[in-house]
Symmetry: C2
Subunit: 353 residues, 2 copies
Amino acid sequence: MSELPAGLAVLPVAGLPEFSPGDDLAGAIAAAAPWLADGDVVVVTSKVVSKVEGRLVRVPPGADREAVRLRAVEDEAVRVVARRGSLAIVQTRQGWVVAAAGIDASNVGRDALVLLPEDGDASARRLRARLRDLLGVDVAVVVSDTFGRTWREGLTDVAVGSAGITALTDHRGAVDAFGNRLETTRTAVVDELASAADLVKGKLAGVPVAVVRGLAVERPEQEADHGTRPLVRLPDDDLFPYGARDLVAARQPGAELVPRAGDLAVVAEAFRIASAALPEFPVVLRYGGEEDGVVDVHLSDAVSTTTALNLGALLGAAIVQLHAEGWTTRWEPVGTPGGSSLMGRLWLGSPAA
Amino acid sequence: MSELPAGLAVLPVAGLPEFSPGDDLAGAIAAAAPWLADGDVVVVTSKVVSKVEGRLVRVPPGADREAVRLRAVEDEAVRVVARRGSLAIVQTRQGWVVAAAGIDASNVGRDALVLLPEDGDASARRLRARLRDLLGVDVAVVVSDTFGRTWREGLTDVAVGSAGITALTDHRGAVDAFGNRLETTRTAVVDELASAADLVKGKLAGVPVAVVRGLAVERPEQEADHGTRPLVRLPDDDLFPYGARDLVAARQPGAELVPRAGDLAVVAEAFRIASAALPEFPVVLRYGGEEDGVVDVHLSDAVSTTTALNLGALLGAAIVQLHAEGWTTRWEPVGTPGGSSLMGRLWLGSPAA
């Protein structure tokens, strides 16, 4: 058989004990994997990190474990992104958007629930430093957790902490063999490492640690830049900040708007969508644009209380739609002296910087 | 040094040529990796699959490549999930939700763009069958592509086709060592394999194929069940079906509603959210619930055209919010004879099955 190419090895660390608060996780890993070497990436399931760090919620005897879990989710969440029944997708204090705040009820005693580590990057840095002390090795550490994804079934492991490795490798500006500039390619290498490690860890096998060997680990100069902060998408770049729960609570109207071209077509489309979604508010609308950033909204019908309410309903839904598309709006009602059909003016644009 | 545990190997397949429509991809893989063995998982970047299958869009000489790309995105999309500027997150005919329909302008000549494979599962089945013919090996095949994720920066590789392997391993109903039943754990093992393979492939290195060796591959009995269809989340389970573009075009009102308890609190919360989002429509509301499924909406102010419009705006935004939370609504306006403050009744519930 021909020679195998050099690649990666993904190695399970077997024989680790059950962990409790205060236990020496790095010591146990060093004992179970004395073969750790420079350049290895040690991927540790967040659950054992949380257990040794005491990030547990106790379930009192006789208490409803599910009710305790739902309260803990509320405590850990800074924002509910979506909710359906008892399922809540929330953003945690650490910035992760995850079902049930990443709180886990499996692989832990019936009297406890496991929270995510308070600061997974700090946990990873401590493990990395301690493995260096114990074994004299320079390893990277990834703390992993199991997350769902929008639009895809099945869970995969991702990183919620890292040290000794660049979390996000940046290929932007690189040029391929055909002269194409790569514009948007940044790889979440620590997430891919977490997924690779999960292939040997499994959910029930009791193998919470795996080692990836053979990767040319890229690392930033500053130890403080080794963490997973770059993986957290900031609000301005988030196209899905609403979710079911705070769907309409989008952007606040700005006092200063910078007009953008094409607003009349955009308003017409928003009203078309609103009308299709709310057929119980039939109303015929006209719009007229005087200049960029201003759309006059007229009612064709005679103005009655009912038609005004109908117009308002479509206006409210259309504004929600516009906010979701990144526009900022300001509505200025116009009185209806003498039965004028002009109901108001919708200003829209981008917020002034 | 102590003995290493048995784990996985992730092996790059180097030395592959540039591919063009009609080329023999399986033959090239067999020649470059004669060491392939039973049980290996061959992970192939979708781009080379698309190239040999001729899934290319030609860019005519002198044409604007970006304009051709935007048109191709529209052609491949069955639904636009979100849009911001020239960035569109769409659902493809295959069911994948991905930026720009997965169309790629890198690692291909300037005169072409690469589409996703028409049917990645069929592509994987063909590669698997042909590798068996050529090398006499029983391997699994995963066709991978690079996708972004909501709420996380950085891209990872996922599966858009598979054969010879169960895409989604199901741990539901299993019991952990503490007696906890695992309720929701299904692992997208083919996505984790795609991510693991990407660690040795890289974006510029010209290594479009990698092999994962050592995984205990689980496979369904029927060859037809080996594909990635189970990874596509169906609409009923999708908490993020709206995206920016069709945010308000949620559920249609149903004629028959099944009342659900707690509707008054739900309506009050929806109006609270709407009021916070649309402060330019100040109005004081009262609600009264007669029975499950019916909420009376009153205006406290005297009813004028302007207050009716303001109420309507909040009503429209609140209904959008309610739809997003899974309620179905029906609005029945009430005339305002004699200046009554009762504006209408909002029925809400679940659609009758």
